[in-house]
């Protein structure tokens, strides 16, 4: 009887010890289990975005206001229409020469940049809509100092400067050609410089489009590395831009921009020629070409290759 008890105790103890030791002593190296690939990284990304085949059109204006002046009622220095087709993830940036001679509703004909000074953003929008037959959804206006501050806040902008730019007397541009990181002041100089360009303001508007594309490229790169950086961009932008966009609009546009292929955005400038009109040095737009451009781009925001005008800086050394 005693031996049986002892035997039972020993067997029980051995089983328990074996079980416990076996559990505790499991191999530390985990093996793949069915259905799960250990070590395989999973990613998940979702942001709300604009939808629809109808383009979203944003008027982006660089106001020429000096400190102390009202940026919403000053002459505009750069004027761009940005068309985005959400469904096709494509679009067009259309630069409008600031000296373009147009009818300003309720005012006499004048350079297009005077519309902002004469009646603020609303008149600027009205003037462009009337002249080009396009509907503008939103406007956004920044200043020289706002542009500079905005870019400094995001740590500068990496830009492929297409050619040597040297304009010490006016914009202060002194840039070598090539890919480089520009601080706010340098980027502003690139955006403002027209004196060192053979095509003057036409080339300046094209450079404005280049800076927009560079900003989009950098925004996407930073977002992909740290999605939270989106707030840095929005904070930097919204504090320095006057806009009709609400925060919800800005967020939606920013989310949409994260997935907008930069290569599917064309950067063009409306063609025309410098003339003296009404005693002023102004730009007479090429009416035929401009009609073709807006007939093409207005319905879906996308420009056909055949209607793309020549680059105004194509011959810049």
């Amino acid at each position: 009887m005693t031996r049986r008890f002892v035997a039972v105790v020993l067997v029980l103890a051995a089983w328990l010890a074996g079980t416990v030791a076996g559990s505790l002593g499991s191999s530390p190296a985990a093996a793949s289990s069915p259905g799960i690939a250990i070590g395989k990284a999973h990613t998940a990304e979702y942001t709300p975005s604009l939808t629809g085949s109808k383009p979203v059109v944003i008027l982006a204006v660089g106001s020429g206001a000096r400190p102390g002046e009202d940026p919403l009622h000053s002459l505009s220095d750069s004027i761009h229409l940005i068309f985005l087709n959400p469904d096709q993830h494509a679009g067009t940036i259309v630069g409008i020469p600031r000296d373009s001679w147009v009818d300003i509703p309720g005012h006499s004909s004048n350079k297009i940049n005077s519309a902002l000074a004469a009646g603020g953003p609303d008149l600027m929008v009205q003037t462009i809509e009337a002249r080009f037959g396009v509907h503008i959804d939103y406007w956004a206006i920044t200043t020289f100092w706002g542009f500079k501050s905005m870019l400094d806040k995001i740590g500068g902008l990496t830009v492929n400067v297409p050619f040597r730019m040297y304009d010490p007397s006016y914009s202060g541009a002194d840039l070598q050609a090539g890919v480089q990181r520009l601080d706010g002041a340098q980027a502003l100089a690139m955006a403002r410089d027209r004196h060192s360009l053979l095509s003057g303001d036409f080339g300046r508007q094209e450079n404005g489009g280049r800076l927009i594309l560079a900003a989009l490229t950098q925004f996407q790169k930073e977002f992909n590395g740290d999605a939270g950086s989106l707030f840095d961009w929005i904070g930097a932008g919204m504090t320095q831009i006057n806009t009709s966009l609400t925060v919800d609009d800005v967020m939606l546009l920013a989310y949409t921009a994260t997935a907008q292929p930069v290569g599917k955005l064309r950067n063009i400038v409306l063609p025309g020629s410098s003339q003296t009109i009404g005693g002023l040095s102004a730009v007479a737009l090429n009416t035929t070409a401009v009609s073709q451009i807006f007939n093409d781009v207005t319905p879906d925001g996308i420009m056909s290759k055949k209607n793309v005008p020549p680059s105004p800086t194509a011959n810049q050394p």
Binding site: M1, V6, V8, S33, G39, T43, E45, G228, T239
Partner: protein, 244 residues
């Protein structure tokens, strides 16, 4: 050790006809007592070993206990959308928003990663997301949750150190407009085959306020999993100690 004089049970309840003991009978009784004590000790030790901490084995419950996820707020800041404004109000808003967002994150990861009852069930976490984001959850189930059919692979996930840095977009009055949480979640997963892995989820959640609730409207996440050592038993410490 035990002697005849020290067998009170027998003395207290003597059986009829057994009041007079022979030397052989008392030896047998003593051995039985020793065996009984040994068995009791072994069983008690075994129970202790088998049920301590998160349990190497569970004798009483098939489901491991659910650990609490507790995101540590690493940073709280506001991102102004207007140049002028009440800085203190914006700061206070950022703090309150971060606390609210932290609770949502705790709930999300506890439900999606730690509680076996809701592994792979996007319905359980749906209310934490906006309608738009909710529609995407099924496609991202392997990252947002432990995974579809996770119960076939995992026994348990013990939450480790997790942290979040919360930024809040504010207007000049100090109203919260949006929030973004850069997160890092860590958990020690025990697999059905007894092996362990460390699960890490990093990335960003974007929150929008919906009434009194902050809901997730977007996210960008990475989930990684790598082999881990089994937790080392130390007193009553839990396996989460190595999942950091």
């Amino acid at each position: 050790m035990a002697t005849e004089d020290k067998t009170p049970l027998r003395e207290a309840a003597p059986s009829p006809g057994r009041t007079s003991k022979t030397p052989d009978r008392s030896k047998v009784a003593r051995n039985r007592i020793i065996a009984g004590v040994v068995i009791a000790v072994v069983v008690l030790v075994a129970i202790f070993l088998l049920t301590r901490g998160a349990g190497v084995l569970s004798l009483t419950n098939d489901e491991p206990p659910v650990g609490a996820v507790n995101f540590h707020l690493k940073g709280t800041e506001f991102v102004a959308t207007q140049l002028s404004g009440d800085k203190q109000a914006q700061k206070d808003t950022a703090k309150a928003t971060a606390d609210a967002v932290k609770k949502q994150l705790d709930t999300l990861f506890e439900t999606a990663y730690v509680d076996p009852g809701s592994w792979g069930d996007t319905g359980e976490i749906g209310d934490l997301f906006t309608d738009g984001a909710k529609g995407q959850l099924k496609d991202d189930i392997a990252t947002i949750t432990l995974g579809d059919n996770a119960g076939d692979t995992y026994d348990s996930v013990d939450p480790g150190k997790s942290s979040a840095k919360v930024r809040t977009l504010t207007d000049k009055s100090g109203n919260a407009l949006r929030a973004a949480a850069d997160i890092s979640f860590t958990g020690l997963a025990k697999h059905k085959d007894g092996t362990y892995t460390t699960i890490t989820v990093t990335g960003t959640f974007f929150f929008v306020k919906d009434g009194d609730t902050w809901r997730i409207e977007g996210y960008s996440l990475d989930r990684k999993e790598k082999p881990a050592k089994a937790p080392v038993p130390k007193g009553s410490s839990s396996p989460s100690a190595v999942a950091s």
